[in-house]
Symmetry: C2
Subunit: 193 residues, 2 copies
DNA sequence: ATAAAAATAAACCAATCGGTCTAATTCCGT
DNA sequence: ACGGAATTAGACCGATTGGTTTATTTTTAT
């Protein structure tokens, strides 16, 4: 049967709440309330708020790595078109979310990166795993001559993903996807062979 | 003679403290302490913490618009080289700052953009003014055939600046400028005619 | 000189912060 | 069935949060 609560569901609630409100703006009590768990359970699972945040980052990162991998595996388009569709889909998800959050890793990294080394390291680790997955698609595109070879696959993968992170600022302060679409068009144009 | 304190010095302290620690992580008391002013003076000048933050954003934005303008006016290089030097200088400033903060507008926009509309609007207003200044340099580069005409000057200016914002995430979680230099090289390469 | 206005100063407020503690309950291995 | 361990439950803690209040001082306008 197991006990009433488990770490995964608390991590999922934490992810949803923190991504919309940020780390420092969210209190433990808010997470307890939304997850429907008492404080004792929380501190039974997690050492501290910071430890909790670290596990939220890792949980989200790993889930996303799995999703990314399967998305790219299932794509029947060419590598460059796959990348365009992929980032187009991310933009669409952000629109459906009313531009509320962007990416947890990016938001947490920017808000807490220089304040808590362990959160920075956790964010960087997860981010790097995503880049590795994306870089594999880029490399295939380079091999078939669809993507420029002026830069390495890894550099281009990071260029793509960090470029999108940059657009999240504009997205949030304008509550619009307008520039994100422009960014995608420009970036695909720049990296094509 | 005037009174003992003035808004400008409080705004400057607020800028320094918030850029390093974020908005929600900083309390009024911390700002009072660092600025050496009593609480009564703070609430005499500012309606609330949110109102204070809005004025910090505007203060920083306007100071930066002035600095940007004079930097570009005084540059004796060609437009594209001026842009490269400019972003190279920004990277250097971040290194000298031990990668502590990136850009206040970007950090605040990402942390609070979807929580407080007035802060989002203030950030967007200041950002747009910077883009206008940068776009003038881009346009000159386009006119002399140094920068691509595939996209408008304004689009390229935003592409540059938001691209740099994207690198701030990587900078903070790795405490390094390594990717920022790569990003600059790639971007200049992409936008050149 | 004087009165109104602005700024200074800090005590004070309810609410919330992250975290601790003790007790009761539930689960699991034997 | 039973004992130990894990989990649940929430009252409680000191510190801090953003903000208010009241009194005093300083500046400015008349």
């Amino acid at each position: 049967m197991g006990y009433k609560h488990n770490k995964e569901e608390i991590l999922e609630v934490g992810y949803q709440v923190i991504r919309k409100n940020g780390y420092h703006h969210v209190g433990i009590n808010q997470i307890l309330k939304e997850a429907g768990i008492p404080k004792g359970s929380f501190y039974n699972f997690f050492e501290s708020k910071e430890d909790f945040a670290k596990q939220v980052i890792t949980h989200y990162g790993q889930n996303n790595t799995i999703w990314l991998t399967s998305y790219f595996n299932e794509s029947k388009e060419t590598p460059l078109k796959t990348l365009r569709s992929f980032y187009g889909l991310l933009i669409q998800y952000n629109e459906e979310d009313d531009y509320a959050s962007g990416c947890l890793i990016n938001s947490m990294g920017n808000e807490t990166g220089r304040l808590y080394d362990d959160l920075a390291d956790a964010s960087n680790t997860q981010f790097s795993e995503w880049i590795d997955v994306i870089a594999q698609v880029v490399q295939k595109g380079q091999e078939i001559g669809e993507i420029t070879k002026k830069f390495t696959a890894s550099e281009i993968a990071e260029y793509l993903h960090l470029g999108m992170y940059g657009t999240f600022f504009k997205m949030k302060v304008t509550r619009s996807r307008a520039y994100m679409d422009t960014w995608l068009e420009m970036t695909i144009n720049f990296i094509k062979a």
